[in-house]
Every structure is written in structure tokens, then in C-alpha cells.
């Protein structure tokens, strides 16, 4: 393995470069990122950074290793697997012996790109919205998932009048009915208006000034923000033979094709009994996949398999929630210690008698411990 090219500039790309060096790769590593910024962390963009309690400087990662060729504002537009070349916008071709695809995902938008829709995906999005929030009085957020509810919490904390609209009740898909119900009550208690729009929504105006829900009056506000999920950045791979609209499919070692591995939000894996590829666009997954991908690139079949261990967190309405495992439909919830009413709890979820997930709510616990609890039996007194 001589030349390594990494496409992407976020935590998966940076971790892959670090892991390659740690594993002994001493050849050239080129990182091409279409961002104008040096690598930064995304989790604060919808929380402290957006609110203004954390400085812009605090989101930037510690400077990259000096032995990497980091090229910002450089967009990959094609991949030639046969000739092992990444094609860049502008015509340059980067030859590689090993390629790490970490091209990430982008915000899903409801309208055309030129409509100036506000989203929170990258640093510039967050900076723009932070400025707008400073003078706005009202916001409608389309999407009641993780991101939408975090933005809602931040906006409410800034004193804005906040409405969240979604097809489904907020957060049930991610957190299950018990925890989602608690978070929804917290949002309502904070004064947020929640609107169901089972038929979906449309934005009115350019830039948008109202959300049309198909029934009832248009939802008008100073600011409309779309938080309707993300889409994997696979378009640049068109014609290469790899990459689907649902993500870039990898094997059990994060490999895509000979000499090509992938990590982060772009990756889709067949991870469970359903046999359907799915993505796990979380910070922890990006790091774990990047390390697995780096090893697979250098060691092939000798590299350990990537064993996903889902871990994710959110902060909203004064609730600090961390989850290991996956809260599947039909799970039973157990409050192991504390109580939701007291505002601090440890939760476990079981399905068919087996523990599948654990979470803390305003309850500090090292992640390693929480991870063990996500597979440990539920204490007897709390069952039923």
C-alpha cells in the first residue's frame, strides 16, 4: 500500500487517516474535502454552537497531523475503480493504491437547491442560522427527529416562538413511545407547539415564509428550518459500479471493492435480520467504522470484523440522554434506577426477554458501563 486517498473531511476521514498512521502506513495520505473549513465536530452545531454558549472556535478539531496532505475546497466528482483514480472537479486525477470513501451525507431538502432552504448540517449552515435566530421571533421546524427537536430546544432557549411539524409524533421512531413521550411532554411544557401533518408538508415562498400542511392554516414564521433527515453523498460515484441512493454498501470489514473501503454517514450495511441495508449516521459509528476500514485497507482478511455497537446521544429541554443499542418497535421499557418524574433515570429495553438497549437520562455513567447494560439482564424488581 503506497498512496492513500481519503474523500471527505469530517470525523470519519480524519479518524481513518490517524488509524492508518497508527497501524504503520507511512506512505502519502491525501484528504480531499469539499468544505472550505478545516475539520470540525458536528454534534455542537445544533446545540451549544447554535445557541451561542459555545464559541465557533470550539468546534474545530485539533490541527491535523503534519504528514497529511489536506486539500479543502476540493470536490471529488468521479471514481475509476479499474484505473484506481479519484477524479476531481476541475479535471485533476488522483491515483491511489487505497481509497477511503468518507464523503458523508447532506441535509435532505424539501425544495430545489436554489430555494435557499435553511438546514443544519455543516458549520456554515449553523453560523447562518445562529445569526438569523439572534433577531427572529418565531420559527417553524419541519421534522421532529433528533436534529429537529434539538434545534427546537435551542431556539426556545433563545426565546423564539417555536413550532415543530412532522408526519409522525416526534422521536418515537428513534426512542420508542416511553422516552419519546417524556421528551414530547418536556417540549410542550417548554411552550413548543407540535403539529402533525400526516400527508407531509410543502414550503411556501422563496425563501420560505410558511409551511403548508394540507389541512388548516399555513404555519407562518420569521424563519423556516428543514430538519428532514439526511442523504448519503453517493452521486459522485455514479457510473463507478458502486454506491446506491441508500448509501455505499460495505462488507463486514467496511470494504467496498478491491483497494476501497468506506466509513461514516455514507456507509450502509446489512446489519440485522431484515437483510436491508441501513445507515448509522452517528459520531461513534463514524469513528468505529473509520478504524475498521483503515485496518481492512492495510490487512485485508486479517483485519478484525467491524462489530457495530450503536451509541448516540441528544440534549434537549434540559434532558441529557445517552443510548446504547437500538430501541426496536415492540420493546418493553424498564426504569432501572431513578424516575422520569424526578428528572434522572437509567432505562433498559427488552424484546422477547432479551435486553436490546439501555439509556441514561440526566444520569452520568461511563459509556462502557452503559454498553454492558444494553445487553445485561434487567434487575427483577423493575420488570413487569
Amino acid at each position: 500500500m503506497r498512496e492513500v486517498v481519503i474523500v471527505g473531511g469530517s470525523i470519519a476521514a480524519v479518524t481513518a487517516a490517524d488509524a492508518l498512521r497508527q497501524q504503520g502506513h507511512d506512505g502519502p495520505i491525501t484528504i480531499v474535502s469539499d468544505e472550505r473549513h478545516a475539520p470540525y465536530v458536528r454534534p455542537p452545531l445544533s446545540k451549544g454552537m447554535l445557541k451561542g454558549t459555545e464559541s465557533v472556535d470550539s468546534v474545530f478539531m485539533a490541527p491535523l497531523r503534519a504528514d497529511l496532505d489536506f486539500r479543502p475546497k476540493t470536490r471529488a466528482r468521479g471514481l475509476d475503480l479499474g484505473r484506481r483514480r479519484v477524479l476531481l472537479e476541475g479535471g485533476e486525477e488522483l491515483p491511489y493504491d487505497g481509497l477511503v470513501v468518507a464523503s458523508g451525507a447532506r441535509a435532505r431538502r424539501l425544495g430545489p437547491p436554489e430555494a435557499g432552504e435553511l438546514v443544519v448540517r455543516d458549520l456554515d449552515d449553523a453560523l447562518r442560522l445562529r445569526e438569523i435566530f439572534a433577531t427572529a421571533r418565531s420559527v417553524v421546524i419541519v421534522g421532529g427527529g433528533f436534529l429537529g427537536m434539538e434545534i427546537a430546544s435551542t431556539a426556545r432557549g433563545l426565546g423564539l416562538d417555536v413550532t415543530v411539524v412532522d408526519r409522525d409524533p416526534p422521536l418515537v421512531r428513534q426512542f420508542g413511545a416511553f422516552l419519546a413521550g417524556h421528551m414530547t411532554r418536556a417540549a410542550l411544557a417548554a411552550g413548543v407547539r407540535l403539529v402533525r401533518a400526516p400527508e407531509g408538508v410543502r414550503l411556501a415562498g422563496t425563501p420560505a415564509t410558511a409551511v403548508l400542511t394540507g389541512e388548516g392554516a399555513p404555519l407562518e414564521a420569521d424563519v423556516i428550518v428543514t430538519a428532514a433527515g439526511d442523504l448519503p453523498n453517493v452521486e459522485w460515484l455514479a457510473g463507478s459500479g458502486v454506491g446506491d441512493p441508500g448509501g455505499l454498501l460495505v462488507d463486514e470489514r467496511c470494504r467496498v471493492a478491491p483497494g476501497v473501503v468506506a466509513a461514516g454517514d455514507v456507509v450502509a450495511r446489512v446489519a440485522d435480520h431484515t437483510g436491508l441495508p441501513r445507515r448509522s449516521p452517528h459520531w461513534g459509528s463514524a469513528i468505529d467504522q473509520a478504524r475498521a476500514a483503515a485496518q481492512a485497507l492495510l490487512k485485508g482478511d486479517e483485519a478484525p470484523e467491524y462489530r457495530p455497537s450503536p451509541y448516540y446521544w441528544t440534549e434537549q429541554w434540559g434532558l441529557d440522554i445517552k443510548i446504547c443499542g437500538r430501541i426496536l418497535p415492540g420493546c418493553e421499557t424498564h426504569v432501572v434506577t431513578g424516575s422520569m418524574e424526578e428528572g434522572s433515570a437509567l432505562l433498559q429495553w427488552t424484546r422477547d426477554g432479551a435486553t436490546v438497549a439501555a439509556a441514561t437520562v440526566n444520569h452520568r455513567m461511563p459509556v462502557v458501563k452503559l454498553r454492558k447494560l444494553a445487553a445485561a439482564p434487567v434487575p427483577e424488581r423493575t420488570t413487569g
Partner: protein, 63 residues
């Protein structure tokens, strides 16, 4: 160069310990322990990698 852990910020993710196993470790309780506060020159890159993967900016390097 020294590693400084902001214990109030650290939430015990453990990403850093994997990036710099000779410098940082999670103890039996899952809490972060600094094995070597002074970073040897040949561990410097790993220490910097550890700082980068922390999602809550709990690690810093000081001269």
C-alpha cells in the same frame, strides 16, 4: 507536552483511549485514567489523535 483532562466535561466515551492506548485508559468502572501525563515525543501523534476524537472537547494538550 502534557495531556490535560477536563473531568467535568469527560463523559467516558473512550474514543481517546483507543486512539492513544499507551497514554489513556478506561478503568474497570469505565472512567478515564491518564497513564502518562507527560507525552513522549513518539506518542505525540497519538495524543493529538485522541484529542480529535473527543466529541465533548474534554482533552487538551499543553506545552
Amino acid at each position: 507536552m502534557r495531556i490535560i483532562v477536563d473531568e467535568a466535561r469527560c463523559e467516558g466515551y473512550g474514543f481517546c483511549a483507543e486512539a492513544a492506548p499507551h497514554l489513556l485508559e478506561l478503568d474497570d468502572e469505565g472512567e478515564l485514567t491518564v497513564l502518562a501525563e507527560q507525552v513522549p515525543e513518539d506518542e505525540r501523534a497519538n495524543a493529538e489523535a485522541a484529542v480529535r476524537v473527543c466529541p465533548v472537547a474534554a482533552l487538551k494538550l499543553a506545552p
